[in-house]
């Protein structure tokens, strides 16, 4: 090895000591992720532990119907005398569970279909045309149809909301796969006899993670909104389980005399969706330049 070579090696050794800051550090430094994350964790804590500290959200109390908010009943009571505070707290569970479940399941299914569509050329047209078909079905209508066919349970609501979200994930993953599969390092792996599942999992999948995390937050936010809309239309979670959507739906008739029944779940929904979206934006800003720099 010539002197020049050794010099560059040494120069590089010095350079390489300046490591990139870890992903966690970058994320904490980003203010959007920090504050959005705090708000979201707060809602998560309330959803998990809140119901243990409140009164029964479905306990009827005909004596105290339509009471306005006060020191004793913080968010007032509804037309059956149920405590709105307890119902909103319990509703957080439904919203977060639906949002999280839809995001996770649609990302897993979408990731698989997207990888296959992007890499296995003969299946591309089949998968993508099916996805185009799914995308042309209005989400709410599909949900109403599914729920009236198989009854309204948490499971059917999640499936109904999830199906129209899948094509969005598939398209994103396929687009990433189509760019990455042309990279010389993928071709080198093919030339080295690496089998297809390994090429996908080792060389292609890691490139899809960052955009998928960002997409998942948007799917999560939109799923929570759709769940509330379904609840509001009376097509979602059955009325005996309090969800933000059906609390608002039931309160609609009494809006003029007791607006608090709609106001508090509405605010909770808006804040949660806002928090998820803020985190999503923050992740997009921190993850995307990182990918650009590393590729």
């Amino acid at each position: 090895m010539s002197n020049l070579d050794q010099e560059t090696l040494m120069a590089d050794a010095v350079l390489s000591q300046k490591e990139d800051p870890s992903l966690l550090t970058v994320m904490v430094r980003n203010r959007a992720i920090f504050w959005g994350g705090i708000l979201l964790s707060l809602f998560a804590l309330i959803a998990i532990f809140g119901p243990f500290f409140t009164v029964d959200p479905v306990a009827l109390s005909p004596m105290t119907r339509l009471r306005p908010p006060s020191a004793a009943i913080w968010f007032g009571s509804d037309f059956l005398g149920r405590d709105v505070f307890a119902r909103v707290i319990y509703g957080a569970r439904i919203s977060l569970v639906v949002g999280l479940a839809v995001a996770v399941i649609s990302v897993i299914i979408g990731l698989f279909l997207g990888l296959v569509a992007g890499y296995v050329r003969p299946l591309d047209a089949v998968i993508m045309r099916t996805m185009d078909g799914l995308m042309s079905i209005p989400a709410i209508l599909l949900a109403i149809a599914l729920i009236s066919l198989s009854g309204a349970t948490l499971g059917t609501v999640i499936i109904a909301i999830m199906i129209p979200e899948i094509p969005r994930v598939v398209r994103l993953v396929r687009a990433v796969v189509l760019t990455v599969r042309e990279e010389p390092y993928v071709e080198a792996a093919i030339a080295a006899g690496t089998r297809l599942p390994m090429i996908l999992s080792r060389h292609i999948l890691p490139n899809t993670i960052a955009p998928l995390i960002v997409q998942a937050t948007y799917v999560c936010a939109s799923a929570m909104l759709t769940e509330s809309i379904l609840g509001f239309l009376g097509a979602g979670i059955p009325p005996e389980i309090p969800s933000w959507g059906n609390i608002m739906s039931e309160g609609r008739t009494y809006f003029q005399i007791s607006p608090w029944i709609i106001f508090f779940p509405g605010v909770a929904l808006a804040l949660t969706v806002l928090a998820v979206n803020i985190v999503g934006d923050g992740l997009r800003d921190t993850l995307d330049p990182r990918i650009a720099r590393k590729m």
């Binding site: 070579d5 090696l9 350079l15 990279e183 010389p184 093919i190 030339a191 080295a192 080792r202």
Partner: protein, 543 residues
Amino acid sequence: MSVQDSKPVLEITGLTVRLPEGADREFAIEDVSLSVARGEVVCVVGESGSGKSVTAFTVMGLIPKKDLVPVAGSILLQGEDLLKKSDRQMRALRGEKMAMVFQEPMTALNPVIKVGDQIAELLEIHTNMSGSARKKRVIEAMDDVSLPDPKTMYNSYPHQLSGGQRQRIMIAMALALEPGLLIADEPTTALDVTTQAEVLALIKDIQRRHGMGVMFITHDFGVVADIADRVVVMQNGKVVEQGSRDEILRNPTHPYTKMLIGSVPSLTPPDRPEPEVAEIALEAHHLNKTYGSRGFLTKGRVVHAAQDVELIVRRGETLGVVGESGSGKSTVARCIVRLIDPTSGDITIDGANIATMPERELRPYRKEIQIVFQDPYRSLNPRRTVGQSIVEGPMNYGLGAAEALARAEELMRVVGLAPEALDRFPHQFSGGQRQRICIARALAMEPKVLIADEAVSALDVSVQSQVLRLLHDVRERFDLAMLFITHDLRVAAQICDRIMVMQHGVVVEEGRTAEVYANPQHPYTQSLLAAAPGREMDFAQFA
């Protein structure tokens, strides 16, 4: 130029530009002094990171002000200090008194505006000519850069023009307002060699006719030999040597200049012993690859990327495949590695025809043919350590983890890197080092055939010569058959035993390197060799 004007168009004195904190050095350029006289071409030469482009962009006032701050020195353009100008004043000066031509004409032009209107826009901003006068001036300018039929071409969009034509449009745009100074930043690097020769001749000719000063940024000493009056050599942000072209090229004094010029491969192939007739490692016969978009009802357009290609490579021999972009040389390589499927023909290795073999049967033969790609920054998975990348192939074929690692360590030594570096990630290495790693990865498969697809084209000239030497060494050591794909005739002259020249997917000439270079038969080969920049200069004398 015999008589120079006393007053320079551009005079840079003691220019220092600071880099943002946390960069690998404090200054992008330090104490740079150079001048460009009227009617003079000054070449600024250096490898990547030498600060040659930063110098040019500082003159143009196009550096990002937040990151790069000029902290000392002055830049006098016809007597006016550019560092003291406001943004508005600089905008007025750009185009009128100085203009720039960039490396990549496709991205420097707006793809959705007619090229004529793009030139006219400049006149609209800087002059108060009427619409018809502007159009007339634009057509004159396009005529001036020898574009065929400027009236029709005025209405073309950039994608309808060839690379050379686009670069001519850029030059016409730069000259539209008759600036005193033209800055050309690697203007021919993205062009094919024959087009490059034309564009260089054009710049030289225009500079003579208009008597302007040209600051020409390049990394290519062949280009320097063809175009420069004076040469400024830069290294790590500093000017190490400057002087007239002949002084620098024939009698360099600074060791760095000597090393750079010595690294330029000579166009004269070295004497090679008549090769022994060794075992044939790879054969291809009647190899065809056509790309066609067969329409649903219409007859689609068919492109013959490779047509009836015949090649034989023996063990211990290097066959060069030379051609310009679009000649089909990479298509041939990719067919042989079976990254793409040939349309028809035979590819024989180990007695088996792998041209149309299904993937399952092909697998045992894959390890016999390995490839090293052009772009060292994209050839290694950024998320995997170098070691993981190297052992991947051997472990695919059943080698145990410990043996694979031992082989990787051994190969790191072979390619001149420390075995400890196996745990590092690709971004911790320079381009040349990454290319060494890619060679190690290919060798780990113990192949019979190594394909180098423009493997040294993205490297600086000093690194290039080291990687070439490495490729030569491993070929000897492992008795490899090497297929060397390149557009660079100098590189091909030095490393190839035999040469195959391709044009439009067809092999037009084949023979022993020395014979082809000394006595090219086909007109295309003749024009390629005639266009090679700096052909009358023998650089290797300082090696």
